[in-house]
Amino acid sequence: MKPTESESVDWRSGSTEAPDLTTRERLREIYDEQIRTPLFVAWADWRTRFGFLILAGYLLMAIVAVLGLWRDPSTNQAPRYLMAFENMQYPLGTTASGVDLAALIIHSTPDILLMITAGAVWATVVAVGIGTVAGYKGGRVDDVLMSFSDFVMAIPGLPLVIILAVTFSPENPILLGIVINISYWAGLGRSLRSQVLTIRENDYVEASRTMGVSTPKIIQKDVIPNLMPYITVNFVFAARYVMFASVGLYFLGVLPYSTQNWGVTLNFAYNSGALFSWSAAHWLLAPMVAIMGLSLGLILLGQGLDRVFNPRVRTRMTGKSESTADTDDEDTVTEVL
């Protein structure tokens, strides 16, 4: 099934639940609709492909580190201050104390990936839950939830994280990811809420409501699919924020040095004067490139996935004329997922 044809077909098959369909056919349809088509659309976009490849590269680095395929970083394992690519045994060069830089970068990856995933999942799940319920229900529920969000939002993010990190010194990367994003959901939840405020005035939501569909179901079927592009992009942003913040805080030296992190490398490089001597520039640049690469991969993936969830962009991409795409929009929005 080509994605361009999905609109009208989806609508009918979704609403009638044809009884003569076998389980197998239905499973196949679900697979086509929810897995194959989105993947097809996603893969057709170069940004998704590129983002996937970059993230796969980092995942590979993490696997290499976990399986111990690359030497562990330790002092005096190599000559000091080797430049990058000077000695192919130490491709990224070495630090002032003779540590293999490639080992430092590679062995930081697993913890960083765990951390950003944990932080992003935490922030998005809480934000979607609170934002949609507050926006849709309105009234007292909205008041209570938004007062709570306001309160959380009023606490400055990074300073709070610093104090929490010093207090509890979380060593587990998953915990650290959640601590870093502990208040991230508040802002996201609030902007989701203001979008829900407009969505809930739509005709089809009102139709569902008059038909007596339950609130959780309306939120799930009518509200959240509309927000999906926004949610995906913000999931990626939340992951990026965790990485930027964690590296920044390690760089400042306020997080416990219990885990390997590019920020720790950056901090050591900066504090041993890498800014002033050319011979140590690679020491500073290697972690910077690692950070930027990962966040580039995340952003590209977010941008590309936007298309999967955004029917307007999707139809336009596959060459359908704009005018037809527009008339179909309202139907497909709820059905794509």
Partner: protein
Amino acid sequence: MVNYYVRRTARVFATVFMVASLTFGLIRLLPGGPYTLLRTRLLRQGVPAAEVDARIANLQNIRPDAPLWEQYIDYMFALAQGNLGMSISLNEPVVAILAKSAPWTVFVVLVSTILVFVIGITLGALQAYWEGSRFDKVFSGISISLMSVPFYVIAVLALYVFAYQWGWFPTAGTIGRGVEPALSVPFVLSALEHSILPIFSYTIGAIGGQALAMRGNSIQILGNDYVQVAHLRGLSDRRIATRYVARNAILPMYTGFLLLLGFRLGGTVILEQIFSYTGLGYYLISALNTNDYPLMMGTFLVITVALVLGVYVADLTYSKIDPRISAGGSDEAY
């Protein structure tokens, strides 16, 4: 209507009150408690115990031997009178330090955030207008690349190139040595010179995100029926661009702007450290490193109050900008 504003204003005070209480609790959670370190140091120096207690009480308007709730009440009353105690490491009233440092932080954050917003919206709108053109593609690429660079990387590189190598800008501080902090031409010039690098590094990286958001919003709105109807009615392009498209595209970004302001207020912790720019974030870290709890609490609270006011303004003005959402329009509960 009046009722809504009254309630919303009351909520501001409630939030500030709760955050102040939370700060009180948080600081007490820190390892070793707030004054253990100072106390042992003074005791080791041979200062009699009674005098140590008196000194500490003087520092934060709390008596270390009093029960927790009494400490809390004393603390809140002092706070209400604008008394944040004495800084341990700098031996100055915390309020004086904050009054000195807050304007710098607010200046840098405000200027750079407004720049981010204005440049981002302009770029994004132009990209949407010429969607698919080479201009659009090039700037989309640039935006995505910029988004993947954290501001501290830009800051470190900018410091290296512009300050250390080329010597165009000073490497540290908010104003030059020997410049009187009065409203005069040399002061303003010196302040600008010192703030250009921090503002630059804090602005560049954030533009990409805003531009892409604006581009996406505008494209979505350009596809709406009412825009096509406006074209058919023969309205001028200019009117359509400003009244129909821009207004609707900027709207969802407006609340985002104030949130951004809040996030960036917290982010200065890292920025100011790199440039040794003596704003709130700089003092927060230095207080943390010297276990200077009164100063830490003070900076924390001031950043908080700034944020609360920002969100308050956003809420009150949102209904003015978007007439579809009436203030207190959430009265209708489903």
